[in-house]
Assembly symmetry: C2
Homo-oligomer: 464 residues x 2
């Protein structure tokens, strides 16, 4: 039975007032939403904020073996924020509802599958008589998407559930943030400050009382030698950190030399089901992911999975149903400390659930790694597809290796792609070959694998 797939990447609930978002953000959001096409099967109905290029639709359905002619892609008229997001007003639009009713006429929808489980999706499901097809409907109808995507609420729930987190706090005002930063500085530790709903490291800054701290997973390091400097910094940056006073700000111990890892589970009525784990790379912001995480020590994997299950049990108890991705850092002493959760289809889900599990095949992680990189500059999507084929770099099921494009080009002309190879060295070699297809030898081709890749949790701020 078909599904109703909703490509609502970063909607109004978590992105703030959609009327205030910058144009570049919105343009990217519309492209990011297309990644939901990876999940489309025959006869699914797909809602998107803007119509994808034919080349993208052909390519993705070609890779997944979905009969494109059976898909119905429905795009509502523009809303208060234009065509970048599937906002509540667009999903409520009368002419869209009529078009959707026509598309669903005689169709029994088995499952409502949103990218982000916004309240507007719950409202749509109610109006279509599909509440039962959206697990967690009641939770989502009352702001559940905020709950499972807020870094502030994450820290509350994780701490309460006994999941290890880096020292720090959740600050609703500058005074408390000043105290939280000072407490870390007094112990000789730097801090990372985080915007509540940003992703890929674009909403983070490292602050330190001493110079020489390299930012990883953050835009920059700011040196604040004394209390007056902390106060001046907060005065200047609070508006940005709190998104104009709208959200709490996370202050967290910054641990140099950590590895970023994650685990994704599906929370069903019966409880959490493991999906996949992987590693994230930042240079200094989100840049690559590798699934499964290469060379992860057994003890780190054990901690990652055991704690993610505790987190999932807590979310299960409050009524969340759906995918959950828990991010953590493996710190030099071997501890796994959790840094956020994401209750949505993340920028990793397509890579393991579809490209890994379906295109490569079940248990893909036993024989290959899927490494996704973010910055291949191409003339067009179609040209990229063509060159990959001509150069025999396109994914080949026979060898279980090669390259899969994952997203339409961003406004800066770069595409995301997965390099599938026996191991990380093989993926890095593929990356070198791919990224020189349209250029002369590039000076950065010597950068180690995994240090140039995607913003995993959505392209929210890639160019914003």
């Amino acid at each position: 039975m078909p599904r109703l797939i909703i490509g609502n990447l970063f909607t109004d609930e978590t992105a703030g007032d959609p009327r205030l978002l910058p144009a570049a953000y919105l343009q990217n959001a519309a492209l990011g939403a297309q990644m939901v096409l990876w999940f489309a099967k025959d006869s699914d109905v797909v809602l998107l904020p803007a119509m994808p290029e034919d080349a993208v639709l052909d390519y993705i359905t070609g890779m997944t073996g979905t009969d494109r002619s059976t898909l119905r892609v429905v795009v509502p008229p523009p809303g208060v924020s234009g065509t970048g997001l599937l906002t509540a007003d667009r999903l409520a639009n009368k002419s869209f509802r009529d078009e959707l009713a026509a598309a669903l006429d005689g169709v029994t929808v088995e499952n409502v599958f949103p990218m982000t489980p916004d309240a507007s999706v719950a409202t749509l499901a109610t109006d279509l008589g599909l509440e039962a097809a959206l697990p967690g409907h009641a939770f989502f109808s009352q702001g559940g998407s905020v709950f499972v995507n807020s870094k502030a609420i994450f820290r509350t729930v994780a701490a309460g559930a006994g999941v290890p987190i880096p020292a720090g706090g959740v600050c609703t005002n500058q005074t408390d943030a000043h105290l939280a930063i000072s407490r870390l500085f007094d112990q000789g530790l730097p801090a990372m400050l985080k915007r509540d709903f940003s992703s890929g490291g674009f909403g983070n800054e490292v602050v330190s009382s001493v110079p020489g701290i390299e930012p990883v997973g953050a835009g920059r390091t700011v040196v604040l030698p004394d209390s007056a400097a902390i106060e001046a910094y907060l005065q200047e940056r609070w508006d940005w950190l709190s998104v104009g006073g709208r959200y709490a700000v996370v202050v967290e111990r910054y641990v140099q030399g950590s590895r970023a890892i994650f685990a994704e589970f599906q929370i069903t009525d019966r409880g959490p089901v493991f999906l996949e784990q992987g590693a994230l790379y930042f240079a200094p912001v989100a840049d690559a992911q590798v699934i499964p995480a290469p060379d992860l020590p057994r003890s780190a994997l054990t901690q990652l999975i055991a704690s993610t299950v505790r987190l999932c049990e807590a979310l299960h108890a409050v009524g969340y149903r759906g995918p959950i991705s828990a991010d953590a850092i493996l710190v030099p002493d071997g501890q796994v400390l959790f840094t956020e959760y994401n209750g949505r289809i993340t920028g990793s889900t397509h890579a393991h659930a579809v490209i890994g599990n379906e295109i490569v095949g079940p248990n893909f992680g036993e024989s290959v790694v899927v490494a996704e990189y973010i910055h291949w500059k191409v003339p067009s999507f179609q040209a990229a597809v063509q060159r990959l084929t001509e150069s025999s770099l396109a994914y080949d099921p026979a060898t279980k290796s090669g390259v899969v494009l994952t997203k339409a080009p961003s406004p800066d002309g770069t595409v995301r792609y997965c390099a599938i190879a026996e191991n990380l060295v093989g993926a890095a070699q593929l990356k070198d070959k791919v990224e020189s297809l349209f250029t002369e030898a590039r000076p950065d081709s010597a950068i180690p694998a995994g240090l140039s890749g995607p913003d995993r949790h959505g392209p929210q701020e890639e160019e914003a």
Copy 2:
């Protein structure tokens, strides 16, 4: 063993930036914080934002049988918001910490007992080596107090836990609020709009598409006949509703003819323990409470308790420990729908846990009602005590009836008091006598019992 009692009524986490709060709010907050004195036992250390009047300290300890000379009341130097709140900066103050260390020298603190379980309380407990004495410490250290006092998060958790709530939604922007209001209006229903952290009905407004809807539990009713009127209303009021864009706004079906009831539980490591239930009265904002709720139908009581336990189980799973008060409405068709929770010592806790259970005695609700009223205008606290005694209206353990003052006079010269009597009629008769002690016969003495009383959840906005 003594406890460390912290009178932090509405702290910076839930009240917003303390530097921005109006003076009247702060003055009232300091008085409201004194109600924590009801919980003080011999040798307890009590932190308060400002030193209480001697008359108040004498009266409350006299009523509870606590040896006042063994109590240590510690007041930190003023903070960013002056002396109204026990804000994080005050609890971190160096000279306060020295004084507190001296007060605690040689003392083994059994329990840290905050009015509001703010992160600053968790920080204090950590610094004093008392983490284990504050159940729920980890949860509170990461913003748990926001979690258990937010009306927005309440709706998410309640819906997710299967607890019935009135139709409506949690709105982060005007567009979504407009849609949520319209959905109710389209069904011919009025709506109540709620600020996330206000209390006593002071943060609520009723909106209706037709005239004639009386506001109960809200400041006023606004008639919005069409979509343009909704838009104009939101444009004008959004800043107030969202506290300058800081919080989400709850839009909820407003059910005329409902009764307001509540249940309080204590969430322990092992799960929820029932404390008490009662009824709230509004005229049109918070005005009285009666414990236990008079004439509550058996089916309503069953629903109230069963659903509150579900709510408690969800909060237990995310790590909350401490008191929880769940507010609900009993609607005319007999359903109990939940409207908020409060994870703190509420304006009801002293009335049942101390005045009821300890002063009247265990199972007090089998033989008396405790009715608390809010607006007795008095020359001074001491004068009120004296007149109650002279007129033989003061509480008499022999008859288990009479009046107990509960709080120092507000800036408007009114005190809160509990009238304890065999039944509600008796309490109302006490009220009439009490409120005429300093006046000639008052024209409003004919108002039915229960329609003039206290803001139960703290005097936050009584005069703000």
